[in-house]
């Protein structure tokens, strides 16, 4: 009987303890989110956001104003100016140069946030097998047929196995969906070129008509990492998202770009 009393006692204690516990996720987590893409010949610009609470339905967290950001290229450091709320820039477009390593430092919530990135060498020899394609009108996407054949072959030189992404930007104001295309796919998208020297674009990848800017970005590993998501979302497997910001989240990376146009008709 004594043992049963112990059970009851434990049960009671548990009930009391668990009754008191309450999770609170309405607060905003305290680390900042940094987004910065540096490109040679462009004035550097860094955006700082807050994170969002779980039930916040807005797309982005609130921008953070009034910070002192320092950008350095190894030899000299510059202070960034807040040109719009939460957007910090440096006016010299020649500050970002190929091959140099840049460091970002600022203080937020009593923590020093830092990040570094190196500007990669620009990739040469970016070519396309064609710049105009015709998607057969009666082709029933996404069934087999044209969808599974190669539409365009892109090539570039990559002797050092650098990371690349191909970004397809649809230039149309109102992109017109292809017959059989996936309606909820965004008109603009990215293909991971990985560390290869080319990419074969399939018809099935395209969902909209019009002119695309096909931009080959030479990127760093940190950008490639940010694009790779951890597919699991269970509490048993959650891990911190990829990023190269210490004491913060987001991405601070440099890249080079080269562009070819592609016209898609049907």
């Amino acid at each position: 009987m004594n043992i049963k009393h112990i059970h009851l006692l434990i049960l009671f204690i548990t009930a009391v303890l668990s009754g008191c516990k309450k999770e609170d996720n309405t607060a905003v987590a305290n680390r900042a989110v940094v987004v910065a893409y540096l490109m040679p010949g462009q004035a550097p610009s860094v955006k700082i956001y807050q994170q969002k609470a779980f039930d916040d339905t807005s797309s982005y967290g609130a921008l953070v104003s009034g910070l002192n950001l320092t950008l350095s290229n190894g030899s000299d450091s510059v202070s960034l100016q807040e040109t719009a709320t939460g957007t910090y820039t440096y006016s010299d477009a020649s500050y970002i140069q190929t091959g140099k390593t840049y460091g970002l430092t600022f203080s937020y919530n009593n923590e020093t946030v830092t990040a570094t990135t190196t500007v990669p060498v620009k990739t040469t020899g970016f070519t396309a097998s064609t710049t105009t394609i015709l998607v057969p009108a009666n082709d029933d996407f996404p069934n087999l047929g044209t969808a599974d054949s190669v539409a365009v072959v892109y090539r570039w030189n990559n002797p050092d196995s650098l990371y690349h992404v191909l970004v397809f930007k649809n230039d149309e104001l109102y992109p017109y969906i292809l017959n059989g295309g996936r309606g909820n796919a965004p008109a603009n998208f990215t293909i991971n070129g990985k560390q290869e020297a080319g990419y074969e674009l399939y018809y099935r990848t395209l969902n909209y008509k019009g002119t695309y800017k096909v931009i080959l970005f030479t990127v760093n590993k940190e950008y490639n990492d940010v694009l790779s998501s951890n597919a699991n979302t269970s509490s048993q497997q959650l891990t911190n998202p990829p990023g190269n910001i210490s004491n913060g989240y987001g991405i601070f990376t440099a890249m080079q770009a080269d562009t070819i146009e592609l016209t898609v008709n049907q």
């Binding site: 597919a231 979302t233 959650l238």
Partner: protein, 937 residues
Amino acid sequence: MKQILLLVTIFYALATTVVYGQQNTKDKLKKTKIDHFFTCSLDQFIDTIASRLDITIVYERDSLSRMDVNEHFFNESMQAVLKQVCNENDLQYWIENDGTVYILQQPDDLPRLQQLYKLQQTARNFTPKRIPEAKHAPKHFMFALTGRVTDQKTGEALPGATVKVRGTGLAGQTNTSGNFTILNIPSDTSVVEVTFVGYQPDYFRLDSGSVKRPVSFGLFPAMNNTISEVSITGRKKGVLNTDSRKVSVLQLTPAALNKLPNIGERDIMRAFQLMPGVSATNESSSGAYVRGGTPDQNLVTFDGFTVYQVDHLYGFFSAFNSNAVRDVELYKGGYSAKYGGRLSSVTEIRGKDGNKKEANIGGDLSLLSTNIYAETPIGENSSALVAFRRSYQGPLYDKIFGQFNTSTANNGPGGSGGPTGAAGGGMGGGPGGFANQTTPSSYFYDLNTKYNYAINGSNNISWSFYNGADKLDNSREMTLPSFQTSSGGSLNINDYTHYGNTGSSLKWTTSAGKLFGSTVASYSGFFSDRNRGTTGTITDSNTTTTINNGILEKNKLRDFSLKSDWEWQIASPLKIDFGGFATKQSIDYTYIQNDTTTLIDEHNSGTTAGGFVELEIDPNEKLHIQPGFRTTYFSPTGKLYYEPRLSLTYKLTDRITLKGATGRYYQFTSKVTREDVAGGDRNFWVLANDQNIPVGKADHFIGGIGYETNNWLFDVEGYYKKLSGLTEYSIRQQGGGMGMGGPFGGGTTTTTLTQNFYNGSGYAKGLEFLLQKKAGMYTGWLSYTLAEAKNKFENYGADYFPANQDIAYEFKAVNMYHWQRWSFAATFIFSTGHPYTAPVGTYTINTLDGNKINYLSVSAKNGERLPAYHRLDLSATYDLLRTDGSKKGSLGFSFFNAYNHVNTWYNEYYISNNQVITTVVKYLGFTPNITLSLNLN
């Protein structure tokens, strides 16, 4: 009384056993015919029988004098007459191994009548002759006695039985095959005492034949309901015998498992979870989490072959049919050099040989499954057993299946808010996967067969075969609920999972004097196939999308092994165990998308081979030292691995034993749990290699003290394990767009998977307390474990973090009360929640193409704790007894999670409409079950 001592023939030495009083009484009852008209009170009738047959019948005169016999028996056997009379008066008779017959009104009368009988003897100053006189003057002195202890009724070997030479300090314990060797027996007229839990102790007089060939001692089972001793014990009750020689060992005999609460099936692995050091809170795994280890760090062997898939139905049931299992041992750590290849623990399961005395058929029927077995002797020397079980689509199966495929979503801030819908989406569910669960057609089955052949007294061959599989058809139509008014849709999901094991072993045991050997050739195969396809439409933001994709995933493992273990009793204080082993393993793993694109395609194979030697030294009666050494060659790394082991026990007093063990352990094959890509298979086996999967290594340090009396056992053990070469597996996904983040904007339809193996190290430490009441009407134990298991993976940072299986403390209370034909049990488990990683915030960044990716920022790795786990299980079992007191079967009622506490399994998070949706996946709630077990003999 005529006793036949060691009635052995030259060829059938092992097959024959000492025939004692019980058989004698039985024979008399059977052979004596009666032709008489009785009209008298029952006590007079019994007195008549007793004097006529010259047997002792013990009963309560008061009660029986009030019963009458009015019957004319025409040339009927005494046995039939006794049975009929008992039946008519609602009585039972029970024959003890000394030949005494007890007439019982209730099963619990037996101990009282035995006491009464003893008192009568004392009063009359009479001692019955229990032990036969020596047949001859002693002829042989100081010789070695080898033999075997078996169940008199079935002929099954009894491992762990104690054999003691009366009047000396000489004692031995039967090994896993029921064999024993004792050296320096003073004379061939010595008396040997044999005892084993659940059996009536017995005494045997040796004779000159005992010197020449192995002897065989048969024990009679104790009356079923008088087994009030708990059958799961730390086999360390060192008062009488040598079983305190082992450190961190748990032993279990499935026969009494029906006294414990169950969900659908008596489960050997679940029973171990009630003991200290084995975690009880993983409802989704029958595998043993031993002392901060994971199930794959626990070596599971069945009749000598390694079992790679130890459970059924998402881990809810173990793969082992308790009707086919004779006994199980779990070594929680510091185990002998005989075992290797795992970091944490060893579970050795030995199947029944099959009844060697008479054919028997039996089975269990529960709300979950049907379980039938048949066993029979074949000719003089062999026996066979077949056991089969299969689950059916009953309410219990549906409930468990549903539990592992259904969850409840809470919208908004985690923890609060009511359920907004039933969810699913396959194992663990793809993020955002909501399902209307249709009744799936799934089942599991397993088959055990065993054939045993005694070539002669010294050689035995047995063949064991196991085949079991789960076929899970989780195909369903999925209707997406509308979180926003503009979204929704329906999908048809084909989802077939098929996994299982096939294992077989051929075992040869031989004893030649002081040498005992066991050689096993075995095959073990594991497969896991998953075929999942999705077709349908999804509407999001008023745009409808057609979906058509599928994955095909296969993991296949084959293991061919040969091993040979030998025991050599060189001298009384010295025994050598030695042996060799070789295993060839091959593992295939493929992951195919949309039937064409092979994303992962791995084929690995490796050979492990080596040997071990171990000494068992007893310099005096108090000390037992067991140093051992094991070495293994592993072909994928091309290296030799050395594993020194040491364990020792010291009897401080008759009641107090000190123990300690240490050793090094390597693991070459591990099971990695995969992050869940689109609800795929959860885990698979990999071989260590030179590159990304290191060979696991553990060092164990164990110390403890045990205090034991006849009724009580108090045991404390502390352990520390240092681990390195741990591997965690993760798949990173690009494309596909299902996950949060949905990188590349879902614009591409091709998915790229990257495999990552993260390597790290860790430690586990803990203290285990066990207080057990071993005998009486009320039995049971309290177990408390204080533990810590932490890992360090460079990938997650420089600090130690709690391992997934880390439980700070766990309290378990097992209470069993026996009353006549009823057995009641209540088990209560209370434990700290499992650690988990929680999201703390969310953020969005724009990529170079202008699209957005959502991310969850998370707490420290495993920095949070799920709510405490607690659960009360209740059961009541009613024994069905025959008139002769033997057990016909039982009817069991079981209530799992009696007060329906909601225990959390894990949380799932995904982002919808910029908000984080938390899904709480729960463990099983209140689940009742009824089991009916019957057997023919």
